[in-house]
Amino acid sequence: MSSYIHHVQGLACRDCGRNYPLENLTVCEHCFGRLEPRYNYGAIRRYLSRGLIYSRPQNIWRYRELLPLTGLPQVGQSNGFTPLVRARRLAERLGVSELYIKNDAVNAPTLSYKDRVVPVAISRALETGLELFACASTGNLANSVAAHAAQAGLPCIVFIPDNLEAAKIVNSLVYGPTVVAVKGNYDAVNRLCAELTARHPSWGIANVNLRPYYAEGAKTMAFEIAEQLGWRFPRHVVLPVAGGTLLPRVHRGFDEFVKVGLVEGELPRIHAAQPEGCCPVVDAFLHRRDRIVPQKPNTIAKSLAIGDPADGYTVLESLKATGGSAVAVPDEEIIGAIKLLAETEGIFAETAGGATLAGAVRLSESGVIPRHESIVVAVTGNGLKTQAALDGALAQPVRVEARVEHFEAAWQELQKEAIAA
């Protein structure tokens, strides 16, 4: 739409500083560094106000001046503005005073944080006339890409590792894309897609040649947290790290809200959580390595099983810049945290959410996060998609015949067991 005034001006390489026009590029053509959109923050500061944001629908596009579209969005009207839950019962259990869950388990339409990034990527694909929408995915991204391709009427291919949870496969297949299960882990899938981009320039692969646009959508999590807290920042944010897209963009989002004058104050300290079975970023942070050493993932948190995170360095930069930290957690603690969150707050997180909460618990117990300071823990996906991780970890249903005395006898037995425990 030619009448739409946009504020994104081009792409810039975060590593060598080269500028590019708004093109569909994966990385800097010179140094392979990370490309980020540039905005005219001065113009946004003059135009965008809290009042204007309030006046708009509660979805990711209420912050559209800070997203890299050149026209009005065509898809994604139900996405984002997920609940920021004040977790009082969980806070009491953990002995902390102010705790919130940013609940992207109920993000729409596909129940994960990916519903923030995909609408930006597909909008870019539509604006630039790409003919097919695709991605390499550990599952959640595939679900979101398939759903949005259906919404936009674009043909779609999703590439996934061949060991994914059944629910994540069904939640892609139902939208009618071509699902390609690649032998090997996510890093193999990603390499294949990177090679395919060179052969199929008319395809938009969300996390490859649309990456600079895709990643920007993750900033909306930061925008929402600040707005939902009444235009202020929490003191701490704990986020999961897989490929490293989310955490640095949450940092960037907070930073941009200061730049355009919507929030004042110190940025939150941002902390990273990974499973012990795949923690290359935590490992580099704790050992102060200047290179991230890739790993072969082995964890129940499959959505975090990325052994060679492309944005790992960006994560490390954000941790350092905000005074954050990094923590790895074992699979048993992931399961424990999933149950704890469900039992105290009624929120069923996927394994990545369990890892994040388990990480927050460790950071709190070790004093890295002081107990009286405000904490936001991000739950980025829904437990219904990773149910197999809980096999053997939950109580079994009590089986009775449909007769009152049978139930009463079973109930009495349960009461006795509860007292004994």
Binding site: F32, R191, E195, R199, V208, A310
Partner: protein, 91 residues
């Protein structure tokens, strides 16, 4: 002796605008040196100022990342497939 090397889009201009090229060498380091002979300027695109492979560029031998093998001293032989691939984001 000849090894097939897959070239990523940002490097194709310096490699004669081709998706795949042939090169020789007993190790990855030798192969990259040979590519620089064939395509002057190739070396400075794949190595950084400190002489290390650029950190956002990954090299694979028969689909295995050389960082899981022996890095630049990873041996290669006739018929092997080498891919040079920029690191890409994920989810």
């Amino acid at each position: 002796m000849s090894i097939t090397v897959r070239i990523p889009a940002p490097l194709q201009a310096v490699a004669g605008n081709r998706l795949e090229v042939e090169a020789d060498g007993g190790t990855i380091a030798e192969l990259l040196a040979d590519l620089d002979n064939r395509f002057p300027g190739f070396r400075q695109r794949v190595y950084d100022e400190t002489g290390r492979l650029r950190r956002f560029l990954n090299v694979y031998v028969n689909q295995e990342d050389i960082r899981f093998l022996s890095g630049e001293t990873t041996p290669i032989k006739d018929g092997d497939e080498v891919s040079i691939v920029p690191a890409v984001a994920g989810g």
